[in-house]
């Protein structure tokens, strides 16, 4: 069977910084996949390669069986259509009001009538827990968590079949985090969308994931069903899930504080 999303032997380097090296990924249709990995391990880069915003140095990226790397932007747009993407920093259009941001793909991309799009935008904003009064504000007038939620509303506004979320619950309180998780789950379950999410939040992972991928040293070192994460004997995954500093993942941190305490 064909997968909705495939990445094969992807390599990507920035100068001498090799971020991805022989990275492989398969995502089935209507599956919610979560990518785990340390900060700076290349998760966001991986999503940008999937979107065609970064061109991998090697390897192939296919969406719906169509190879998209090497394609021009225009061809890619025509073949793949809209992809819902929540950027890590939300990337809202800062000259447009909140509802215009949410309705952007509808009005400018699909030619939906602005009045109708306004209604849809309000509905999506309500789904991410934002009130109507927020709709006319500018992104600069929002808090970090509110921006993230507007970004999420924009990503799902056109109900695309493929959704990428870069840390959707980072910066949100636990209650709002759960609301957002439920929204992601319902997008996958009810709309039949395929979702790839990056998260550092283990609670959220358990709520939204079907499949889990662990990215380390530029590779996909473990992929499995979410139920397997507690039983796997992969030392990387075990360490990551436990959040312990004992294990194969080394953090390059100088333990200055401890030394100072000892010498005092």
């Amino acid at each position: 069977m064909t997968h909705t999303i495939t990445m094969e032997h992807i390599a990507k380097a920035f100068g001498s910084n090799r971020v991805l090296a022989d990275f492989n990924l398969h995502v089935d249709e209507s599956c919610s996949l979560v990518i785990l990995g340390g900060s700076g391990s290349g998760k966001s880069v991986c999503l940008k390669c999937l979107l065609g915003l970064l061109e991998p140095d090697m390897g192939t990226v296919s969406i719906n069986g169509i190879r998209i790397n090497g394609m021009s932007q225009k061809q890619r747009m025509r073949q793949i259509g809209q992809i819902g993407m929540l950027f890590q920093n939300a990337a809202l259009f800062d000259s447009l009001s909140v509802w215009r941001n949410v309705a952007f793909g509808l009005i400018e991309g699909q030619g939906v009538d602005p009045n109708k799009a306004y209604g849809i935008a309000l509905e999506k904003l309500a789904q991410v827990g934002l009130e109507e009064s927020v709709a006319t504000l500018l992104p600069s007038e929002l808090s970090g968590g509110m921006r993230k939620r507007v970004g999420l509303a924009r990503a799902i506004a056109t109900e695309p079949k493929i959704l990428f979320f870069d840390e959707p619950t980072t910066g949100l309180d636990p209650i709002m985090g759960q609301v957002i998780d439920q929204l992601i789950v319902s997008c996958v379950k009810e709309l039949g969308a395929t979702a790839v999410t990056i998260t550092h939040d283990m609670q959220s992972l358990r709520r939204i994931a079907d499949e889990v991928v662990m990215l380390c040293h530029g590779r996909n070192i473990w992929q499995g069903h979410v139920s397997e994460i507690d039983t796997t004997d992969n030392p990387y995954v075990r360490q990551f899930i436990k959040g312990s500093d004992q294990g194969p993942i080394k953090m390059p941190i100088l333990n200055l504080g401890a030394k100072e305490i000892h010498s005092a």
Binding site: K48, L51, G52, L53, Q73, K74, M77, G81, Q82, I83, G84, M85, F87, N89, A91, L92, F93, D94, F104, G105, E108, G109, G111, R154, T158
Partner: protein, 265 residues
């Protein structure tokens, strides 16, 4: 040994920089071509064009108006002190009108807009680039070239000739003010001589220059904005590049267009 390695390093630096410059020129050409083609492709965003027309055209009126008005006044004073012996009555109006219409109004307006509009375009698009707003636009299937670049390029290309047309009249009016009220020339003669010296080809060359400058400064502004990277500092560098490169290009183009019209005459 040392001089040898030094000269190698020097050669490599020069070679590398020249190569980069050639590469940049190629990229700018490609960018210009793609953006120009995009002008004729759908979808077209009329409301964005209108918005740009107002922000480029209307808000540049004071800058261009003041620049040309004072240039006309200065031209009148300078010509008078230079030509007072040999019939200022007839030379002054001619020199002022020819200088303003053919050279000063288009070049000064172009340079002022490179600073006012070109820099603003780069800063705006550059910020959108480094905060991933342009990437976000692409994922929503909206072409940033058509949505962001086309309205700006069209607005600058269309408004600069209009601004220069107004600048022409203001510049000549500046000359008139000085000639009549300060130097005591006959106002009727002044107007007669101005009308006499204005040829359609002179006016046309000024307006062609204006359109070419508007196109150039907006394309360069968009190019550097679109390709900026590295946060606020990167956007700052891109903005500087826009002003420098478009000013140089405007002065170069000015010579080329003058030369073409010189042959036509």
């Amino acid at each position: 040994m040392l001089p040898l390695t030094l000269s190698f390093t020097l050669l490599r630096t020069i070679g590398g920089n020249s190569w980069k410059m050639i590469e940049d020129i190629g990229k700018i050409f490609r960018f210009t071509l793609l953006s120009t083609l995009a002008i004729f492709q759908k979808p077209f965003y009329p409301d964005l064009l209108l918005h740009q027309l107002i922000s480029v055209g209307y808000y540049s009126l004071p800058v261009v108006g003041l620049t040309t008005l004072f240039s006309g006044m200065v031209m009148a004073l300078q010509t008078y002190s230079g030509f007072s012996g040999i019939g200022a009555e007839s030379t002054l109006p001619r020199v002022v009108s020819i200088a303003i219409v053919r050279e000063l109004a288009p070049v000064l307006a172009g340079l002022m807009l490179a600073g006012r509009v070109g820099a603003a375009i780069t800063a705006e698009l550059g910020t959108m680039r480094v905060t991933e707003q342009i990437d976000a636009m692409q994922t929503l299937c909206i072409s940033p070239v058509r949505y962001l670049i086309v309205p700006r390029v069209l607005a600058c290309t269309l408004t600069l000739p209009v601004l220069v047309g107004l600048g022409d009249s203001l510049g000549i009016y500046g000359g008139y003010l000085i000639a009549v009220y300060k130097l005591g020339l006959n106002p009727v003669n002044f107007i007669d001589h101005v009308l006499d010296s204005l040829q359609w080809i002179g006016i046309l060359s000024g307006l062609c220059k204006a359109a070419a400058f508007g196109f150039t400064l907006s394309i360069i502004g968009c190019y550097f904005g679109f390709h900026s990277r590295g946060g606020a500092a990167g956007v700052g560098i891109a903005t500087t590049n826009t002003v420098v490169v478009s000013s140089i290009l405007i002065l170069t183009l000015n010579f080329i267009i003058t030369e073409i019209f010189f042959r036509l005459q």
